[in-house]
Amino acid sequence: MTDASAAIEATDLVKTYRSKEGDVDAVRGVSLTVAHGEIFGFLGPNGAGKSTTVRMLTTLLTITAGSARVAGVEVIDDPDGVRRRIGVALQEAGLDLRQSGRELLTLQCRLFGMSAAEAADRTQELLELVELTEAAERRIQGYSGGMKRRLDLASALVNRPDILFLDEPTTGLDPASRLVIWDEVRRINAQGTTVFLTTQYLEEADQLCGRLAIIDDGRIVSEGTPAALKSQLAARLGPGADPSLDDVFLDATGRTRERVAGEVQEVQA
């Protein structure tokens, strides 16, 4: 299936981390297609390969095998072309703590080729968007977790990307901050930006994502709209079953409530 108009198209992506301690097959053949304008969710347990996939799609990690087109550009052939068209907020909101919020955004704008005046305007716009105007002159060192996430999100938007990659954008945030990020993501998407987000929160996927894929141990084990995934499982479980996305996730990743409970007990013992 080749869809030239897709926002993201990955074909048999493989990543093997090589080190002296041995090789780790982190991603073992992931193929996926994300259409323009979607919010696509990438779910999986810890260590499933979510971040590795995101890092390959965003040019930060070499691709061991397979290929990917992002925003119509071949990742391997033209990484800078991809970088110009995407925004990235990684799992560890990587910020320079010694700069102020305004300085960080201005620098990011300048690195995307804007003049000093353009950068100043765009920075102001983004600070307003993520409601950080008051903290703008303060060092990032003193920002709360939620503020850092919002700043990181703003920095991923400087170049008005076609596609926004968010790796666990709400992990570690309190429920209120999480809602703020969700609103932001919806607003960005409403303006036409395709969003690829990874999450461990099933509720987040249910709330935000039009379509999702579940990855486990480096392979995609399930894919579809949240509703379709739930009804497929309901059909398998038989009459009367009303599975939640939690159940879909546990089923797809071969984990059962009983086993998870058992593991917890073992830890407690």
């Binding site: 990235v88 990684l90 990587g94 910020l95 995307f112």
Partner: protein
Amino acid sequence: MRETAILARRALREGLRQPDALMPTLFIPLFFLIVNVGQVAKIFPTGGTPFLHGQNYAAFQLPTSLLTAASFGTAALYLVEEIEGGYFDKLRATPIPRASIVLGRLIAELPKSVIMSSAMILIALPFGVRIRAGLGGYLLLALLIAIWAAVFSGFMQLIALKTRSAAATNSVGFIFFPLLFLTPNFVPRSQLSRPMEIAATLNPVTYIMEAARSLVLDGYDWAALGRGFAVAAAAGVLVLFLSIRTVNRYD
């Protein structure tokens, strides 16, 4: 080039914003200067020591202190912090040549080093230390030391890029430590014991130290200056080549 300049300005701002990180760079070499001079100055009186060219022993030691101050590699510690914290990846996700991330920091070392050297020379003036080559000599001296500071930081950054860990960068950095001391830092090379003389002759830092010292004690000794700047330039080319290769292959 444009991106390199932008990132250099940022690195400079970061350095000036963290003056406490620069303090050891200034005070440890000054401490050694005072202690070393205090311990041996009597053996090398200004009048009876030909290699001092009429200056006092502190003038002889000044280049050692300047080189020590230029060999802390704080830029690499900022870089490794950035790698550990993830900001390095944010920079890598922008459409800039990756080399500019590393080069920006190296270029920022030049003005930082000039400020540092100037401060140390100013502090040494009341103790009777003079630069024989005058104002031009001071500029050449500051330039030579600044190139060395960038070169040293460059090697430290290589370690940072390879190990990606602050602890490892710090400890591996100690392999450069002997380079500073297997030099004619107490007496001229001709007066070292034979094994030390061989070690110093093989050590590239020796030639930078001798060039710097010639400006302080002697005026313009073009042969010594030529060797010093040649060594600094060669090391600079090597570290540039290795840095660009390493950062482009960073995965």
